[in-house]
């Protein structure tokens, strides 16, 4: 399975010269907790709702501060056509909860730990179903015919 097929939510990007107040408004309107910070179509960082709390509100930063002051950069990225197992490896080695998905160095979306957990849970349910059925409704094997 490719990374692009594992994305479950739309991505939203904000220009790096926008303010932290605008970033917060966009998060609220779009329902996402992380925005890609873009310079044109070039990805320069990620800003999360947690960044806005920790690096802006808690530091008494003015609401009109530029969003690139509080973003996380550089960003851990993964190619859209990479195998999904590479995403697992990047989550493990970088300790992040989101990866920016890029194609030809352009941002195309975001994949999160939550996305992968949903897939893993669904896969587990699929393989557990026949086992569960066997436990609840045991099928007795037909007796082996006796030799005549």
């Amino acid at each position: 399975m490719r990374v692009i097929e594992g994305i479950r939510r739309s991505g939203v990007g904000i220009s790096s010269d926008r303010t932290v107040a605008q970033a917060a408004t966009v998060m609220e309107r779009s329902g996402v907790g992380a925005l890609a910070v873009l310079d044109g179509e070039r990805l320069v960082g990620i800003v999360t709702d947690r960044d806005l709390v920790r690096r802006a509100l808690a530091q008494s930063l003015p609401p009109d501060s530029r969003v690139d002051l509080v973003m996380t950069s550089p960003v851990v990225t993964i190619d859209a056509d990479a195998d999904l197992h590479q995403a697992f490896a990047l989550f493990r080695s970088n300790g992040v909860r989101r990866l920016a998905v890029v194609r030809a160095e352009r941002f195309v979306g975001m994949i999160t730990v939550d996305d992968l957990l949903v897939d893993v849970a669904n896969d587990l349910a699929d393989i557990a179903r026949p086992v569960t059925a066997e436990v609840i409704f045991p099928q007795r094997d037909a007796p082996v015919p006796a030799d005549e």
């Binding site: 994305i7 479950r8 939510r9 605008q22 966009v26 309107r29 779009s30 179509e41 941002f107 979306g109």
Partner: protein, 70 residues
């Protein structure tokens, strides 16, 4: 996915009780209509780039042309 200026994009709620969101396409970066799209969010003047995922659907609005009288 393809969209044109004036189309509406609806993003379905992800959890039970979460309402749908929508935005209006105000710019298309690529001439073939492929993402990303410059969008304006409902009740907001804020424009952002939007990279649609499987939770988004595009509602196209056909352009109505007035018939000439006479």
């Amino acid at each position: 996915m393809r969209a044109s200026v004036g189309d509406r994009i609806v993003i379905r709620g992800h959890r039970v009780g979460e309402h749908d969101r929508d935005c209006k396409v105000v710019g298309v970066e690529h001439p073939d209509g492929e993402p990303p799209y410059l969008v304006r969010w409902e009740d907001s003047d804020h424009e952002t780039l939007f990279f649609p995922g499987p939770d988004a659907i595009v509602e196209h609005f056909e352009k109505k042309t007035k018939k000439a009288k006479g």
